[in-house]
C-alpha cells in the first residue's frame, strides 16, 4: 500500500521527468519512450504496456556497468545501440567542443526487461538525462505541461455513451522528439559512446559535450515544447481549449479532443464522422502517429464498449499484481474495504507497536 510512486513502468523509465509527482496524481501514461524502435510498434499491438501488468523482472541492471557485466550483456548492448541509433536518426543532439562556461548535465542508461503478452521478452535501454541536475534559470524556462484530469475522461466517456459518440485513439510515436528545444542544454557523453558512435569523435568529456536539439527523456522541460507544438497545431485547425480543462479541445460540429501528453482521444458524433476523419488525417500527416482505432486503453485503464453503447472502465490485472506484490494471492476475501467497527482514528499511542 505504502507509496505507489515508482511502481509504474513509465516512472521508472523516466524518473526525473516528473519530479514530485504524488501518488494522488494521475500518473504519466505507461512506459514508452517516444523513440520506440520499429519492431515494437505496430498499430494494433500497443507498444505501451504497464510494467505492472506485463511483469518486469527485478534483476534489470541498475547501471551501465551492471549491464555490461550481466549474462545478458549482448542483449543490453543491442538495446543501447537501438536507442542510440534512434536518437541519432532524430538528430537529438550535436557534438560540440567544450568551451568554458558550459555546464553539461549528466546522463545515464536505464534498462528494462519487458515481457510481451505472447511470452516473448524484449530488452529495452533508454538514455535519460539527469534532469535533477538542472539548475533553475539555466535552461529551465518553463517546465509546466498540463495533463488531463481523469474526471474529464470519465465525463467524456459518460457524455459519449449518452450521445452515441465514437472514441478513436491516436498515439504520437516520437512526441518528445518532435519539437526543437530553444534553450541551450548541454549533456555529457553517454557511457559506451566509444562503441556506440561509429563516426570519429572525441570520446572524452573533457573535450566534447552534446548539445541537445530535441528534448530527451528526463529533461525537465521535456513535455513543454511538445505541448506547445501540439497546442498550436490544434488551434490552427480550429480547436479551442475548454475553460474547465485545457487538455480538452473543442471544435463546433461534434468533435472533441482529449490530449494526454502523447495520447490523443478523438470523440465525435456519428454525424460528424467525416469531420473527425479529416481531423485525424491532418494529425497523422503532421506527426508520426499510430492510428489505434476505437479507444481500448488509455492511461492504463481499459475501455470496453458493449453492443448497446455502454462503456466499462477497469484496470484488469492490476489487483492480481498488487496482491502478488504483497504475497496475498491466497488471502481470505473480505466483504467490505473497511471493517464497520474500524477505528483508524483511535489514538495511535495506545495501538500496538509501530512497524517498519
Amino acid at each position: 500500500m505504502a507509496g505507489h510512486r515508482g511502481q509504474n513502468g513509465a516512472q521508472e523509465m523516466a524518473p526525473a521527468a516528473h519530479p514530485g509527482r504524488s501518488a494522488a496524481h494521475v500518473t504519466v501514461p505507461t512506459a514508452h519512450p517516444g523513440r520506440s524502435t520499429a519492431h515494437e510498434t505496430t498499430p494494433t499491438a500497443r507498444p505501451r504496456r504497464n510494467a505492472l501488468t506485463t511483469g518486469s523482472t527485478e534483476d534489470d541492471p541498475g547501471s551501465y556497468r551492471d549491464a555490461l557485466n550481466s549474462s545478458l550483456n549482448k542483449q543490453w548492448k543491442e538495446a543501447m545501440r537501438q536507442d542510440y541509433a534512434s536518437l541519432i536518426e532524430n538528430s537529438t543532439f550535436t557534438p560540440v567542443t567544450n568551451t568554458n562556461g558550459m555546464k553539461p548535465i549528466g546522463c545515464r542508461w536505464v534498462y528494462k526487461t519487458k515481457r510481451n503478452p505472447n511470452g516473448t521478452i524484449r530488452y529495452k535501454a533508454c538514455l535519460l538525462i539527469k534532469g535533477y541536475e538542472q539548475i533553475r534559470a539555466v535552461g529551465f524556462d518553463e517546465t509546466y505541461a498540463p495533463v488531463g484530469k481523469l474526471i474529464t475522461l470519465r465525463y467524456l466517456l459518460s457524455f459519449a455513451v449518452q450521445n452515441s459518440y465514437q472514441i478513436d485513439h491516436l498515439d504520437v510515436i516520437t512526441a518528445f522528439l518532435n519539437p526543437e528545444i530553444y534553450t541551450e542544454v548541454y549533456m555529457q557523453l553517454p557511457q559506451g559512446i566509444e562503441w556506440l558512435e561509429s563516426t570519429a569523435m572525441p570520446t572524452s568529456n573533457r573535450d566534447c559535450f552534446l548539445r541537445l536539439n530535441k528534448a530527451l527523456y528526463g529533461l525537465r522541460q521535456a513535455l513543454r515544447p511538445w505541448h506547445q507544438e501540439i497546442d498550436d497545431f490544434l488551434q490552427s485547425i480550429g480547436f479551442h481549449h475548454s475553460q474547465a480543462d485545457i487538455s480538452l479541445y473543442i471544435r463546433n460540429a461534434g468533435v472533441l479532443i482529449l490530449l494526454y501528453v502523447d495520447d490523443i482521444l478523438v470523440f465525435y458524433a456519428e454525424e460528424a464522422l467525416e469531420n473527425a476523419l479529416r481531423v485525424k488525417q491532418r494529425l497523422i500527416l503532421q506527426y508520426k502517429m499510430s492510428n489505434l482505432g476505437p479507444a481500448k486503453q488509455f492511461l492504463s485503464l481499459e475501455i470496453d464498449r458493449l453492443a448497446d453503447g455502454t462503456i466499462t472502465l477497469s484496470r484488469p490485472g492490476y489487483i492480481s499484481t498488487i496482491l502478488a506484490r504483497f504475497n496475498m494471492q491466497d488471502a481470505n476475501l473480505a466483504p467490505t474495504p473497511l471493517h464497520p467497527k474500524n477505528r483508524l482514528n483511535i489514538n495511535t499511542s495506545d495501538a500496538e507497536e509501530e512497524v517498519d
Binding site: Y318, S320, T336, N342, A351
Partner: protein, 215 residues
C-alpha cells in the same frame, strides 16, 4: 492507491483513511490495508459502468454529499465526502477528513456541502464547454438542518459562527446555480465515502454507484 483514483470509488474512504498513516504505519493500519486488498481480491472483476440507459434525474449532473461527524474521535475531525454523477455514471468523488473541527453534525454536513458546491462549479463549466448548455446540478443532502440553513438566508444562532466561505452553498442555492435537495439517508450514495458500512449496505451502494462485476 491508483486503483481508487481511476475506477474504484468503493475504496476511496479506506484509501483516504489509510493514506494518513503511510509514513508511520502501526500494526492496525497494516491490518486495515490488508483488508482493503482482501476486499479488492473479492471484487477484482468489478468495472465502472457508463450505462446506455437514460437516467431518470431531472438534471444530467447529480451530486450526493454526506459527512460522518466525529465528535468521539481523537482529533474530533469529521469525514466528509461527495460523489458526482453525469448521465448516471459517477465521474468524480471525494473522501476527506475535514480540516477543522465541526461543532455539530449539521456543521460537518454544511462543510461537506461547500466542498460539493465547489466541485460542482468546475463541472458546470466543463458541461458548458462541451455541450454549450447551462446545467443546474441537483445536489442531494440528507441533513434537514443543513437544507434549512441553505434555503433560508438568515443565520441561526447555531450556524452564526461558521466561516463565511462555507456559505457558498447557501449563496449558490439562492442564485439557482445549484439545487440542493433532500434525500433519505438510505439512498444517499455519499454514505460510502464517509462511513465504514456493513456488507449489505456497502454492496447496495457499490451497485448504485455503477460498479458492477457482471452486466
Amino acid at each position: 492507491m491508483y486503483a481508487a483514483i481511476g475506477t474504484r470509488l468503493d475504496i476511496a474512504l479506506a484509501v483516504a483513511a489509510l493514506r494518513r498513516y503511510n509514513m508511520k504505519p502501526y500494526r492496525v493500519h497494516l491490518t486495515a490495508a490488508k483488508r482493503v486488498l482482501r476486499y479488492l481480491k473479492a471484487t477484482a472483476d468489478v468495472k465502472l459502468v457508463f450505462p446506455s440507459t437514460t437516467s431518470t434525474e431531472a438534471s444530467p449532473l447529480v451530486g450526493y454529499t454526506d459527512s460522518d461527524y466525529a465528535g468521539g474521535r481523537a482529533d474530533r475531525k469529521s469525514q466528509g465526502g461527495h460523489i458526482f454523477k453525469v448521465y448516471g455514471a459517477p465521474i468524480s468523488w471525494l473522501s476527506r477528513k475535514q480540516g477543522l473541527v465541526a461543532f455539530s453534525t449539521t456543521e460537518a454536513e454544511y462543510i461537506a456541502c461547500s466542498d460539493a458546491t465547489r466541485e460542482a462549479e468546475w463541472q458546470i463549466r466543463l458541461h458548458m464547454d462541451v455541450t454549450g448548455e447551462t446545467v443546474v446540478p441537483t445536489i442531494y443532502c440528507d441533513s434537514n438542518g443543513v437544507l434549512k440553513t441553505i434555503y433560508s438566508a438568515v443565520s441561526s444562532p447555531k450556524t452564526k459562527h461558521i466561516n463565511i466561505r462555507y456559505h457558498i452553498s447557501r449563496d449558490w442555492q439562492e442564485r439557482r446555480i445549484v439545487n440542493f435537495t433532500d434525500i433519505s439517508t438510505d439512498d444517499n450514495l455519499a454514505d460510502i465515502m464517509t462511513k465504514a458500512l456493513g456488507p449489505e449496505k456497502h454492496q447496495h451502494f457499490a451497485t448504485s454507484i455503477s460498479l458492477r462485476s457482471k452486466l
